[in-house]
Symmetry: C2
Subunit: 312 residues, 2 copies
């Protein structure tokens, strides 16, 4: 197993990514190798300086950086030696089994779609994230930004992608799917959700439990919450800001702790032909470590095969 | 001044509404009368039982109740003796200067649009709500549910309606308007927000400061946040659920306190020819009191005239 990691992605890269990689490596077995994409010489130097053994890692020299505000498509094509472009080149060629980065989200999305491509039958990939549940554990929310405008058929597919992710990567049996909406009744909502409801209701591959309102998101109402990428992104950033407030105010609590993105590692792009994970821009070493372990989990669970079968 | 109040609206009506009316009345001057819509005999009896003087109030006998889950349009037409139907009849005839209720939101919206009607030039009214700011005070968010699907021109009008409300009812000078969106840059967003941005940018009647992300909602980024009613409703209910969590956990704080809907009284329907306010279904006496005082503030500020002039 070869787990690809972009060493240059994220606000605190490469320091944070390298420290995270070192921690993650300790949890890997002998046949599981971390492949680091970045400035090879610098990476090796930093690993040694941190007191770790550079020979425990594989390297691909890719010294260019795609910064957070670059145009995704342009950056990918104009910077073939960037860590993200190189990562997807290797992912496409099967030289690595997964690729993750805390760098430019758009470049990760474009890179995934142009290299390993969307799974046949999937209209558009979606980005999923974890949302904490009040009592324990967490749910999955998607899409959180890959598709600002959605069609009902896309939301119906996101429901299945989210269900498969919850089931096979997190072991949530027969995950309950809720449609993020503004009212409990079937006829409530906007044009998109009203048209989506009957599709979800008649989809035999998911366990649809009906509409979920904003207030249900942290409850045990559902395990998978489906919405368009505009709404999901607004909701995600709002929830994050609330968590930041509780941190600043010094309110410690199990529930608030479950908002911490570090423990989830990152947000996978569901619906593409390989495990691809986008980390939070501010990823700490712990977040990077968990992003690597999530990659490992996605490879081991043969999640991509599950998606391919479901959309066959 | 005649301030109309539905005594029968809300989960805890009529007890909560009558106690709230009694408290509100203490803040009114001699020429300001509360007009109570409900079962007249029962209302008078309850006021006396609470130790207040029933002669301080005016009454309109309207014993029928439109419950929370009735179909708005049907209920309004089939229950002419309901407190909401009677309220709007009196508002239309100029016998009261404002009408508010913690009852069926849809019936309030339909009632307002069919009786006092939308202000000429306004495409669709919007429901506004208060969102607390981290440091102090609060901002205005709209639409939070009147229009699940919106056109750019509607959002452009909501920006003006919200600005007028912030300025004339809450005294916020030159209120900053933010477009709720998923990215800071002008070109980011979904089809609706991308098309709305240039309209807001070139609208000379508002102080547009650009996009606002989910994480900006509680900051001092803007005073008025504009979005479609689907998104606004999801955001509102999510924020409410956060507040409920902090209450349950016993986390007391000035900021969290500002989430308490009771202090704001209710959500006005902006863009109709009279002050109409919808209270939270669970309105307490304090919330009802503040809904009456908000009605008074909307009448005194001649807010309706300000809207009419702005859309002329």
């Amino acid at each position: 197993m070869k787990i690809g990691l972009d060493v240059l992605g994220g606000d605190y890269a490469p320091k944070s990514t390298i420290l995270g990689a070192i921690e993650a490596q300790k949890s890997l077995s002998g046949d599981q190798r971390l492949v680091l994409f970045g400035d090879q010489e610098d990476t090796i130097k930093r690993i040694a300086e941190a007191g770790a053994d550079p020979s425990l890692f594989d390297y691909v020299h890719a010294p260019e950086v795609i910064s957070m505000h670059e145009h995704p498509t342009k950056a990918i094509t104009q910077k073939p030696n960037s860590s993200i472009a190189k990562g997807f080149e290797h992912l496409k060629n099967g030289e690595i089994d997964s690729f993750s980065s805390a760098g430019n989200t758009g470049a990760m999305l474009v890179g995934a779609m142009f290299s390993v491509k969307t799974i046949p039958g999937v209209i558009r990939p979606a980005i999923a994230t974890n949302v904490p549940k009040l009592k324990e554990s967490f749910g999955i929310l998607l899409d959180v930004g890959a598709n600002a405008d959605c069609k009902p058929e896309m939301l119906n597919q996101f429901a299945l992608l989210g269900s498969l992710y919850a089931e096979y990567v997190y072991g949530i049996e027969n995950p309950k799917v809720g449609l993020l909406n503004i009212g409990e009744e079937e006829e409530k909502g906007n044009a998109l959700t009203i048209s989506t409801y009957p599709l979800l209701k008649s989809n035999p591959k998911i366990n649809f439990i009906g509409n979920a309102e904003g207030r249900d998101l942290f409850s045990d109402h559902a395990d998978v919450y489906v919405c368009d990428g505009y709404t999901g992104n607004v909701v995600l950033k709002l929830a994050e800001s609330f968590y930041v407030v509780t941190l600043k105010k010094g309110f410690k609590d199990d529930f608030f702790d479950r908002f911490n993105y570090e423990q989830y590692g990152g947000s996978p792009i569901l619906g593409v032909n390989a495990p691809v994970i986008i980390g939070h821009g501010i990823s700490s070493p712990l977040a990077i470590k968990n992003m690597v372990l999530l990659s490992k989990g996605m490879i081991e669970s043969k999640f991509i095969d599950k998606m391919k079968t479901a959309f066959n």
